[in-house]
Amino acid sequence: MTGQDMTGQDMTGRDLHELAGKQAALGEVRGAPGPDPVNETMIRHWLEAMGDANPAYLERGVAPPAMSQVWTMPGLARARQATPVDDVLAALDAGGYTGVVATDCDQTYHRYARVGERLTPGTRFTSLAGPKKTALGEGYFVTWTVVWYAEDDSPVAEMMFRVLKFRPRERRQPYPLKPAAGRDTEFFWEGVRRRELRIQRCLDCGQLRHPPGPLCPSCRSANRGHTVATGEGTVYSYVVHHHPPVPGRETPYVVAVVELPEGVRIVGNIVNCRIDEVRIGMPVRVTYQAMDDELVLPMWAPREARC
């Protein structure tokens, strides 16, 4: 395997599985014995931290089985010992699967570890599964086992451990041109989030109104609701913005005043259309674009496919 491959920069799923196969073929790799023998001090700290009041461990001079990992943990100051899992995790990190979450941990206890024993871990890379689509994002499940051996090579405990290494979903850059919304206008933006074009409607006289406001422009009633527009319209006027640059926008872009058959006008961008084909009178239909993780804007596309 070349250095380039090891960085994982160009690693495909196949390369990852190939690496996983090689690491599995290494079989069990023994690490160095734990730095300290199983001891009462550490056991007492652990029991206190866990809130375990059972006096049997210290009375009999044995460690709680769930402490198995503790005896061979690398600690803060010592260099980590290499295991066959490391290269796989590093390749996944380099491939952008930088997120990690533990998904499974099964432990098997053969006997209690006794005070004075020094344990040695043996790590075996087991499997790589993926890529899989998960709620967290695309990722690979990485599984390995660790067996802790006593000085006579008898197994004391073992553990199957599995993590999901995932590619974190990229949060979209927040779109800088946010509308303000208030009590009189929030229903419109709420509608847009649900892919509905809501037009304010007077519940007393039926008059439609856009942009919305607190009162009916016809009878001044504050008793208002909305109707959902058909989503059709025609271009009433439009501009093509070239200069100056506008944050969050790529120039040139088209902004239009669109007239709706419901009898109101609304401003929006013309999309899915060559700029030189936009015309006053052009039939358009509403479409929705998510500008970032929060904002959806209504936009307008030609009703007849033009491009």
């Binding site: 303000a180 093509v240 100056p244 401003v267």
Partner: protein, 387 residues
């Protein structure tokens, strides 16, 4: 109020792209220059008026210039639309006795400081009535003055058959006038219609040369009673009529939801008021100062004010119609396209010079000058006359 008050003094800084001085200093320089022009002292001033988007508070200007107590101060809303409104407020204060001498001012580093032509993402950010209004437009990138005007211009072209060249004729006229005005930024730099047509798109259908420049500078005007003005150093420019106007369904630059998008109803309101209260008509105007931040609205104003029927301004501006020597010379100083963009205040100063007969581009036989303020917003207008 008719002819009760007059503009007795005008003052200005140089017009540049980089004043190198604070906006407050520019304001103070222009105010002192205007008082000097009128032959008055700061101690004579008891009123100050400016308009929104000016960074200099009235009290700060008073402190810097040595103006002491104020009995009248007012800040007129809606940006450039308020230019003539400042003079109206000053004239009302003088006519009612609220103040005796009022100075109107505008000062900014609009090129080297905050540029109004640049997009400002905060425009739609607040749920104030204006923020909510902007929120129907800003999220779609419709957020520069050129873009807001272009939307009207496109509809106007569609309905009346006006072309980019028709807009270009306005720019050519303004630059011709500026070319012979030493105070103008574009002094000595006229353009041709071909130059206009070759200039790059800003927001279609507007080209670079359809858009006024951005400027640093300040202008101030001294308003006092007509009677007192007669005894001062300069020939007074009588305030024959002054009006503010807002149309129905009015918005800031984006009144796209009214029945028609080819007019400027708010300027129609101003025009009707000016003609009614003065008893004058377009025939009585020898030269007009029409707000020219963007060329298309000069055409619309000619129509709204009654200089020509609707849709016919394109013919009106052909063959040098609004140039010096034409049927109605518009903006002999070069306007904001040619002289400077001081939010219309420099145009009022030119109207005063035309009435006095002292402009570098003097129109012969001037008796009445019509002046307008910012278009697309609630606006204002004046008729200034020789005594």
């Amino acid at each position: 109020m008719r002819s009760a008050a007059a503009v007795a003094g005008i003052g200005a800084t140089e017009f540049s792209k980089e004043s190198g001085r604070s906006e407050l200093r520019l304001a103070a320089e222009a105010v002192l220059a205007a008082l000097d022009d009128a032959g008055l002292a700061p101690a004579d001033v008891d009123g100050l008026v400016t308009y929104t988007q000016d960074a200099n508070q009235e009290i700060a200007v008073a402190r810097e210039t040595g103006i002491g107590e104020l009995t009248f101060f007012s800040r007129v809303h809606y940006g450039g639309g308020a230019a003539c409104g400042t003079v109206m407020h000053a004239a009302m204060a003088v006519a009612t006795g609220a103040a005796r001498t009022v100075v109107c001012y505008r000062a900014f580093n609009e090129r080297s400081g905050r540029r109004f032509g640049q997009p400002d993402a905060r425009l739609g950010g607040e749920p104030s009535s204006q923020g909510l209004e902007m929120s129907w437009h800003v999220p779609f990138g419709l957020m520069t003055p050129a873009a807001w005007v272009a939307m009207f211009a496109r509809r106007y072209m569609h309905v009346y058959g006006a072309t980019s060249e028709d807009f270009g004729r306005v720019a050519v006229a303004m630059r011709r006038h500026a070319a012979t005005n030493p105070a103008a930024w574009f002094h000595g730099r006229p353009i041709t219609l071909e130059d206009h047509q070759r200039s790059r798109w800003i927001v279609e259908p507007l080209r670079l040369l359809d858009c006024c420049q951005e400027s640093d500078g300040a202008v101030a005007l001294v308003v006092t009673s007509a009677e007192r003005a007669r005894d001062l150093r300069r020939t007074p420019a009588l305030i024959t009529a002054a009006a503010q106007g807002s149309g129905s369904g009015q918005m800031m630059m984006t009144s796209y939801y009214r029945d028609d998008m080819t007019g400027l109803p708010e300027m129609g309101v101003v025009g009707r008021r000016l003609w009614e209260t003065s008893g004058l008509s377009p025939r009585d105007i020898q030269t007009a100062i029409l707000y020219d931040h963007f060329t298309p609205f000069v055409l619309t104003q000619l129509e709204e004010l009654g200089f020509c029927p609707r849709g016919e301004a394109k013919e009106y501006v052909r063959d040098g119609g609004i140039e010096l020597g034409g049927r109605l010379p518009v903006n002999p100083h070069g306007g904001q396209l040619g002289e400077a963009y001081i939010h219309g205040m420099n145009g009022i100063a030119e109207a005063v010079r035309q009435v006095r007969g002292t402009s570098v581009n003097q129109v012969p036989g001037v008796h009445n000058v019509l002046v307008t303020a910012g278009t697309g917003v609630p606006t204002s207008g004046l008729i200034l006359s020789a005594a």
